[in-house]
């Protein structure tokens, strides 16, 4: 693991002048600390994916490419151009206007021109021109074409794993080019020749093996939930006894495994459990579909489909009416934009109706999956929750829109509505850093791994900078989010750039504020911190590692 510079040193290195050479002539920097570790052989084998056949490191001069690698990439590219009209359009229509150039958090944080979305796409587009367009075939370099060489593959590996598929650039593209989908295609092509990263594919393999990314087995899953129920009882006096794999439950609840394994997600988990108890929801948890996230999304369409199918297979097996999903980010990009054509429509389930308010979630009529923020906002709107927001009074909160819930499904108002109802102190970050213009945590799309910590701190700088603004101006001490990758990646980001600000899921705040029937007087929040503690929240060294 490479040590990273101190914040005051790193900030000076973000304002890099543009290089004097053309981008094509600058090789990718694959020195230690600049790349994610490649996937371990056992995970590739588990997923039936091509393997490089030997151990390798991106720092190696010679990469383990198969003998016919150029043919594999060419054929794979051709197949995808035929399959996805969007890819062909995105390859053809960019006029290189540069509207996207300074919108990428990685460009802002690194100053590297290849992190301008237009140039990132150009890495792929130049090969497209060479292989698939007449102008490129005839005019070559003049038409922006270039040959596929091992150096290009290295460049792809470097820069398509420096993109978090957050789609902020797409918001500003006058043509609506979805650069995330370009990154996805490039990652698919790299996977065809055995090149991908362990932080993505080990979780994907775990998900098939044990039900979730973290490799938690059914008995350990149950034990962890029981552990939170003990904690809830200690704080509230209420004993909750959730069911597992219960056939005939009305609703199947699925959340990312980070919510029941990692700090601070576990407090969000407690919030869900309290909420469901509060309203008497007829729900069950599953040890088979024990993962809301889908790291397949960061690898290939095929892997997305295989992982996503588990949720629906389990819903069918248990005979539930519909699925309620937890505070996850990319899960909702999958559900909202891909599920219906990959595995849907889920006709064996019913169009979701809230059993408490009778609200029919028309937006989920086909996928049969409702985001918990919509569900809870609806409960509050119908006055179904007993809430005491003053219990969150020592928390001065701002909200980080996760890239996927905001840009991927338009979930902008619900989280704010819920937070404002359960907290008295809420302040927005500047408007060009929130809602559909939100800045990424810098670690999404499978990049929340430690070996690239400097890159993550650089990529997260614009988000942290906006948090610092509200911290300095309004005394914000808590950053709320609705994504498990955020809950994992924002604590180190805050520790680095804005150390007085802690991180929470929204349902942790809900859990603190809920007035449960028969509860004891609450003296602490779900983290066992005193309710009336005036000291700022901070990260309090609770995050693992």
């Amino acid at each position: 693991m490479v040590d990273i510079p101190k914040p005051e040193e790193l900030i000076k290195k973000t304002d890099t002048p543009l290089p004097s050479k053309r981008w094509e002539n600058i090789p990718a920097d694959l020195s230690p600390g600049k790349f994610c570790y490649p996937t371990k052989q056992k995970s590739l084998e588990y997923l039936d994916l091509p393997t490089p056949g030997r151990e390798w490191s991106p720092a190696d001069e010679e990469w383990p490419l198969p003998e016919n690698w150029q043919e594999i990439i060419h054929e794979g590219f051709k197949e995808r151009l035929e399959k996805y009209r969007s890819l062909k359009v995105f390859m053809d229509i960019c006029v290189r206007c540069g509207a996207c150039a300074d919108k990428c958090h990685f460009f802002i944080g690194t100053g590297d021109p290849k992190n301008m979305p237009v140039v990132r796409a150009e890495l792929l587009r130049s090969i497209y021109r060479n292989d698939f367009t007449t102008a490129g075939k005839i005019l070559g370099k003049i038409a922006g074409a270039r040959k596929l060489t091992p150096a290009v593959i290295k460049e792809w590996f470097s820069y398509f794993y420096q993109c978090t598929e957050c789609r902020r650039c797409s918001v500003f593209c006058p043509y609506g080019i979805d650069t995330a989908e370009i990154t996805m295609m490039a990652r698919e092509l790299l996977t065809l020749v055995g090149l991908n990263i362990n932080w993505i594919l080990e979780p994907a393999a775990n998900c098939f093996r044990t039900g979730n990314h973290l490799g938690i087995q059914p008995h350990a899953f149950k034990e962890m939930i029981d552990f939170y129920c003990d904690d809830i009882e200690e704080v509230t006096g209420i004993r909750i006894d959730p069911s597992f794999n219960r056939k005939g439950a009305e609703i199947l609840f699925i959340t990312p495994s980070g919510d029941y394994f990692a700090d601070p997600g576990i407090y969000t988990m407690m919030g869900y459990l309290l909420l469901f108890e509060h309203i008497g929801l007829d729900y069950t948890l599953s040890t088979y579909a024990s993962e809301g996230g889908n790291f397949g999304l960061f690898t290939s369409a095929d892997m997305v489909k295989r992982l996503n199918a588990k949720m629906y297979i389990e819903a069918k097996r248990l005979g539930v009416k519909w699925i309620l999903g937890g505070e996850c980010g990319h899960m909702w990009r999958v559900i909202h934009q891909y599920m219906d054509t990959l595995n849907g429509p889920a006709d064996f389930l019913e169009a979701p109706v809230s059993p408490i308010t009778g609200t029919k979630f028309e937006n989920a009529a086909s996928t049969k999956m409702v985001h918990i923020m919509e569900f809870t906002a609806d409960l509050i709107k119908h006055d179904k929750l007993k809430i005491d927001p003053s219990r969150n009074d020592n928390k001065v909160v701002t909200f980080h829109d996760g890239c996927n819930p905001s840009r991927g499904m338009g979930l902008l108002e619900e989280p704010r509505y819920v937070i404002k109802n359960v907290c008295n102190n809420f302040y927005e970050m500047p408007e060009n850093t929130i809602r559909e213009q939100t800045f990424c945590c810098g670690s999404g799309a499978g990049l929340n791994t430690e070996e690239i910590m400097e890159l993550r701190m650089r990529g997260g700088l614009p988000r942290a900078n906006a948090v610092k603004y509200v911290h300095d101006k309004f005394g914000v001490n808590l950053l709320a989010c609705i994504c498990a990758i955020d809950r994992a990646s924002l604590p180190p980001l805050m520790n680095y750039w804005v150390p007085d600000v802690g991180v929470t899921g929204v349902h942790e705040l809900v859990g603190n504020a809920l007035v449960m029937d028969g509860e004891i007087e609450r003296t602490s929040d779900l983290r066992f911190e005193p309710l009336n503690d005036e000291t700022p929240e901070g990260n309090k060294g609770e995050a693992d590692e």
Partner: protein, 105 residues
């Protein structure tokens, strides 16, 4: 895969110096990581954390969540950091021969 030689033992390690398989763990590995970690002498409390981690791993195939580790050892997280300066993951799990967790963590 990189290897580490220590007092006549050879260990296969990953990029971050974690032992590649729990099966390859020996007491000599602990001594080796101890030097890396800059811990002078291992006391009963260090061993308690290592034993708890290993028992949990044998039963569950993963490292325990920090709070469960804290509950099982009855040590506050702060104390675990005092025992293992790199923390429960990079310090204690590494010493106990457990792999790092991956995913939304």
């Amino acid at each position: 895969m990189a290897t580490v030689e220590y007092e006549g033992n050879t260990f296969n390690v990953d990029e971050d110096g974690f032992i590649d398989s729990f099966d390859g763990w020996t007491k000599e590995w602990v001594q080796y990581v101890k030097l890396q970690e800059g811990i002078d002498e291992l006391n009963e409390e260090h061993w308690m954390v290592i034993n708890v981690l290993q028992d949990y791993y044998k039963k569950n195939g993963i490292a325990p969540m920090v709070r469960i580790l804290s509950k099982l050892t009855k040590f506050k997280l702060k104390h675990i950091y005092e025992l293992f300066p790199s923390g429960p993951g990079k310090g204690a799990c590494k010493m106990a021969g457990l792999p790092k967790p991956t995913g939304c963590v």
